[in-house]
């Protein structure tokens, strides 16, 4: 987002503003800060009073223990498999459907689009129980497909991308038709490249939603071989108070990939999260 110009303020007001910002930053950032500090302390030091607020003699072993004693590596791998598959699938299915709804004519197009819109309003909790039964019937309980298949398509994605595709000038499709470009090639060569920002924004949104899923993986799996990191954190949570440093280290390692990713894709994240909220 472009930086808006603000008039320069006087030095005292600036100091005041910095003061407010620092207080707010301490309040918001403290839980994360103390997590990092505690990950580097021994469980005894964490429980010690008065509390240690700075990592004075850092012990790095907790991070290794999070991998060795608690299957963090496996959970992260499972999360990566599930999340990447869902993200790619949602992007492909949404791009195809959005294109068809925006550029092609076929009977019941409006009705079918309304189905997608309606699906967008159905919370996942309302379909949880039958979906758990469906997964059982298909023998997909506790498998990767069971965690993935219900999320191969996204009503939100179809809606967002169709809105964007409709903004493309009509002449573009006419010119492509004259050039003998079929729908698929027009989609791949023209529509997708021109809509990279919104597709990227939806991709980041889809990735984050899939990565953060909690209820469905909890209900649709029961073994470590497919469980995602969010459910792994549930196990971590019950480690007990003599392993608090490992608990804190584990949460850091669980959040770190997303933190790095979001730093890299900040622009897409902001667009993805604010799509639909800010008009224009």
């Amino acid at each position: 987002m472009a930086e808006r110009r603000r008039p320069r303020t006087g030095p005292w007001r600036r100091v005041g503003r910095y003061g407010i910002l620092c207080v707010l930053a301490v309040i918001v950032g403290f839980p994360v800060y103390i997590t990092v500090v505690n990950a580097l302390l021994t469980p005894q030091a964490i429980a010690g009073r008065p509390p240690t607020l700075f990592p004075v003699d850092p012990h790095w072993g907790s991070f290794g223990q999070a991998f060795s004693d608690f299957h963090l590596g496996l959970y992260l791998r499972n999360s990566a498999i599930v999340t990447l598959t869902i993200t790619v699938a949602e992007l492909v299915t949404a791009v195809l459907a959005a294109y068809a709804f925006a550029f092609m004519t076929f009977p019941f197009r409006r009705t079918l689009f309304l189905v997608c819109l309606a699906a967008l309003m159905v919370p996942m909790e309302a379909t949880l129980i039958p979906n758990r039964q469906t997964i059982g019937t298909l023998h997909l309980f506790d498998t990767f497909p069971g965690l993935i298949v219900p999320f191969l398509a996204s009503g939100v994605g179809v809606f967002l991308l169709r809105q964007a595709f409709l903004q493309l000038p009509r002449d573009l499709r006419d010119a492509a038709t004259l050039d003998g470009l079929g729908h698929l090639r027009f989609l791949v060569r023209v529509v997708v490249p021109l809509n990279r920002p919104i597709i990227g924004a939806f991709g980041v949104y889809a990735f984050l939603s899939a990565w953060n899923q909690y209820l469905w993986p909890l209900i649709a799996s029961n073994s470590d071989k497919v469980r995602t990191v969010q459910i792994g954190l549930r196990q971590l949570n019950s480690l007990g108070i003599d392993r608090t440093n490992v608990i804190f280290a584990g949460t850091i390692l669980a959040a770190l990939p997303i933190f790095v990713l979001l730093l890299a894709f900040q622009r897409q994240l902001v667009r993805g999260l604010t799509a639909g909220a800010v008009k224009g």
Partner: protein
């Protein structure tokens, strides 16, 4: 909804019809994957949720469930468990939505300045987008642990049950964690909206002698109202769906004091093996969220000022 113009095609009527037929086939192929998944995992299960609510779970899991018709809807929806869960959910919404909105807005306003190093503050304020509900809940479970938790120590709690297992304070504690975890999202939302306000409007108000607070009330707030409205609706919906923090922080306890609708649904389904009751709760949850969404559609253009 705008209907996209149909591309004019050339050639004889028969060729044109042929081409239209081919386009229809291609169109169906393009929408097929999406519609197949939505049909199997959204439309069908939604209908089935309402259907399952008509069956009572057997006393033993191996016996067949019994068709009892709408009576189960009546008994579940009027039960103490359901009404208490609904009440707690409403309290949870009241505790999380306004506080989260005000804090997010305050952060966005504070960070809306041309200062050196402002990017660092913005990164800190939006950082909780990276901490999932589960990550936040695990951190706070330990920080609020009555024996070793730092926050418990600061709150003057020595031993005992701690706030998470306290009848009065468990729900406010879960709400606080939720507000903190959502701050990053609200901050990003509000910041984007603030930055889309044209500087000329604020400048004009400044020239007219409006104070900072006056400018905020007369210019900024009205222009932010669509985003605030959106944040409130999204906040209400996500509070109704809040599950991970309750599962990790309190498991619905102590003695059901943090059992919201969704947790009631989960326990009926997984612990009590009662898909009938769980389905009635799911149906109720669906209707409530549908009403919230429709209210949004109905009022968004009317009540809220668009710049």
């Amino acid at each position: 909804m705008t209907d996209p113009a149909v591309v004019e095609t050339s050639g004889s009527p028969r060729r044109r019809r042929h081409r239209a037929g081919r386009e229809a086939v291609a169109g169906y192929l393009f929408v097929l994957p999406t519609l197949a998944v939505l049909a199997l995992f959204v439309v069908y299960p939604l209908a089935r949720t309402f259907w399952l609510g008509l069956f009572r779970a057997p006393p033993f899991p191996t016996l067949p469930s019994k068709f009892v018709g709408a009576s189960q809807y009546g008994s579940v929806l009027s039960s103490h468990d359901f009404l208490a869960s609904l009440g707690r959910t409403v309290v949870f919404v009241v505790l999380t939505v306004p506080a989260g909105l005000l804090l997010g807005l305050a952060l966005a306003v504070a960070a809306d300045a041309r200062l050196k190093g402002i990017r660092i503050f913005r990164t800190i304020f939006s950082s909780t987008v990276a901490t999932s509900v589960a990550v936040a809940s695990v951190i706070f479970t330990t920080l609020l642990n009555p024996t070793v938790g730092l926050f418990s120590y600061w709150l003057g709690i020595k031993g005992g049950n701690g706030v998470l297992m306290n009848n009065t304070w468990s729900l406010p504690a879960v709400s606080t964690v939720t507000v903190w975890q959502n701050l990053g999202f609200t901050f990003i939302l509000m910041s984007a909206a603030l930055q889309s306000i044209p500087e000329e409007l604020l400048e004009a108000a400044r020239i007219d002698g409006a104070t900072a607070w006056g400018r905020f009330r007369a210019v900024t707030l009205p222009l932010l109202s669509p985003t605030i409205f959106f944040a409130v609706v999204v906040g209400i919906i996500s509070s109704f769906q809040a599950f991970g923090q309750i599962d990790l922080l309190t498991q619905g306890g102590p003695a059901g004091h943090t059992q919201t609708l969704i947790y009631f649904l989960y326990q009926s389904f997984t612990v009590n093996h009662d898909p009938g009751t769980a389905s009635v709760v799911a149906a109720a949850l669906f209707v409530i969220l549908l009403v919230v969404t429709l209210v949004q559609f109905r009022f968004v253009e009317k009540r809220v000022f668009y710049g």
